[in-house]
């Protein structure tokens, strides 16, 4: 699904990504871990088009995507969430969900004015889907609250909801469970698992909690100082001495 070859990203003299190669296979859940500042979010930013790379190649569904702007990459079915959730302040939770819906009618002035009946019909369908997702994320009672007024954890949930509205083929999640309460965290992970099984979507997840990683990931990559230092199943990673050292020396 996603293939990254020899990816490089430099900030001045700092090598944020140093010759990173990795692969996320179709309908799998892959984890990305590493100490703070190891380049995980930078990797996401480069893959999703928010940063320009300094070298290497990125392929998605066999197609080269590096160099494309973020909106084109999202349109191709590769979507992401942000580590610090972005929530339009003066838009309600439901508006946020509807905003994300895929292939909407009425997204340009012309169709918004002259195709109103059809636009309303598609809005209705998107609304039903949004309500269903909000129910799953336990955000239903907040549907008409401004997204700017949500707590950090609720914003995380909302950003998951938005991404699900987009129905992408692959989802990059940047710390999806940070700030989410433990019970809901388990449910979230369960939801991700189910989505992956039912709709055969691929997930690539940055996560700090080893528990979360070992529960749902099929494979884990470890970054440190911009370099890939290990890859393997969660069990292998937990035994890997280099990984333990990176984490312990950082702590």
């Amino acid at each position: 699904m996603l293939t990254i070859k020899n990816l490089e990203k430099r900030f001045g003299s700092l090598r944020a990504l140093d010759d990173v190669s990795l692969e996320v296979e179709d309908d799998s859940i892959v984890g990305l871990i590493g100490p703070n500042g190891s380049g995980k979010t930078t990797l996401f930013n480069v893959v999703s088009g928010f940063y320009e790379k300094d070298g290497g190649e990125v392929y998605f569904k066999g197609e080269r995507i590096d160099g494309l702007p973020p909106n084109k990459i999202a349109k191709k079915g590769l979507c992401r969430t942000f580590q610090v959730s972005k929530a339009p302040e003066k838009m309600t939770v439901l508006e946020n969900m509807l905003l994300a819906a895929k292939r909407q009618l009425g997204e340009n002035p012309f169709s918004a004015l002259f195709m109103r009946p059809r636009v309303q019909k598609s809005e209705k369908a998107n609304l039903d889907m949004a309500l269903e997702l909000l129910d799953m994320l336990q955000l239903s009672q907040l549907k008409n609250d401004y997204a700017g007024d949500l707590s950090g954890g609720q914003k995380k949930l909302l950003s998951l909801g938005r991404v699900f509205m987009l129905k992408p083929d692959m989802i990059l999640l940047d710390e999806p469970t940070a700030g989410v309460n433990p019970t809901l965290r388990v449910q979230l992970m369960e939801a991700i698992r189910q989505l992956q099984k039912m709709e055969r979507k691929a997930f690539f997840i940055i996560e700090h909690s080893m528990k979360v990683i070992s529960n749902i990931c099929d494979k884990v990559y470890v970054l440190n100082f911009g370099k890939k230092i290990a890859e393997g199943t969660p069990e292998e990673i937990q035994q890997n001495e280099q990984v333990l050292e990176a984490y312990l020396s950082g702590a």
């Binding site: 088009g49 702007p69 905003l99 997204e107 002035p109 636009v119």
Partner: protein, 299 residues
């Protein structure tokens, strides 16, 4: 009678500026585009329609439509630098574009008669309306335009298109991550706003019947900004109410000069000072303006 004539004049000017404030609110309040060159649309609309009618003898309806289209195109041109400029730098660029348009009108005398302005702009449907009723007729015409523009802009802001614009205003990166072409959306928003501004300019020219570059100084843009700061951003009622408050003040104090023992120069300066104070007071004590942005609620 003079007092009634004055009130009709005042209401007509309020109406024309309501259109400009709505157009500005569409850019600032909904899309987050900080445009300090709004007067450019006003100027292009006024000059295009009046020159087409006066110099080329084009029917008024066609002249209005061409004026709106040209202002829309200018909106498109203004939106191009949003690609590479951050919003604050783009705001500076818009200030320049407003001045460029005025300076072209001032200096390209072969086309615009330069500082002398365009004179003898005919009244619309003059032969059909009795002379005494004409000011009322024109006021009603302006009000009809406001209603149409209000409905038109509300339909847009309540659509998925409007939702995308609001999302650009609040979180542009999020929009990109959701696959929205934000550049294209901004461009479309500027075309819409330009078209409305061009309509206001045409209405103004055919009302005043004489326009010159003097009418389109940057101060006009700041009056429009004062309107949306006082009235409230992110809704069109606020723009209209802001236009009422500011124009009431701006126009009526012009005539107060006869009754106040101050020279007209100090009156003009004082007027702007008071509008400035008003803006500061609103920003301090009621930053959302008289009318708050309405929450869109689904049930």
């Amino acid at each position: 009678m003079p007092i009634i004539n004055f009130i009709i004049y005042l209401l007509t000017m309020i109406g024309i500026y309501s259109l400009l404030a709505m157009s500005l609110n569409f850019q600032v309040g909904f899309t987050g585009l900080i445009n300090f060159g709004q007067v450019a649309f006003f100027c292009i609309g006024a000059y295009t329609s009046s020159l087409l009618v006066v110099n080329a003898g084009v029917p008024v309806v066609v002249a209005f439509l061409v004026a709106m289209a040209l202002s829309g195109i200018f909106g498109y041109i203004m939106s191009i630098p949003t690609k590479s400029l951050k919003s604050d730098y783009w705001a500076i660029a818009t200030l320049a574009s407003g001045e460029i348009v005025r300076l072209v009108a001032l200096n390209e005398a072969w086309l615009t008669a330069g500082p002398f302005g365009v004179m003898g702009i005919p009244q619309i449907l003059k032969d059909l309306i009795p002379k005494d009723a004409y000011p009322v007729f024109y006021l009603l015409f302006v009000i009809a335009c406001i209603i149409m523009v209000y409905i038109f802009l509300s339909m847009l802001t309540n659509s998925p298109f409007g939702r995308n614009l609001k999302a650009i205003r609040d979180e542009e990166e999020l929009c990109l991550s959701l696959g929205k072409d934000t550049q294209k959306l901004k461009l479309q928003a500027m075309i819409v706003a330009g078209t409305v501004g061009g309509l206001a300019g045409s209405l103004f020219a055919f009302y005043i019947q004489f326009i010159s570059p003097e009418n389109f100084k940057p101060i006009e843009t700041f009056l429009m900004w004062a309107m949306i700061i006082v009235g409230g951003r992110g809704n069109f009622k606020g723009a209209i109410i802001g236009a009422v408050v500011i124009q009431l003040f701006n126009v009526s104090t012009r005539f107060l000069g006869n009754y106040v023992p101050l020279g007209s120069d100090s009156m003009a300066a004082l007027r702007m000072t008071i509008i400035g104070v008003l803006i500061i007071l609103f920003l301090l004590f009621r930053p959302e303006g008289l009318i708050k942005e309405k929450k869109k609620v689904y049930d």
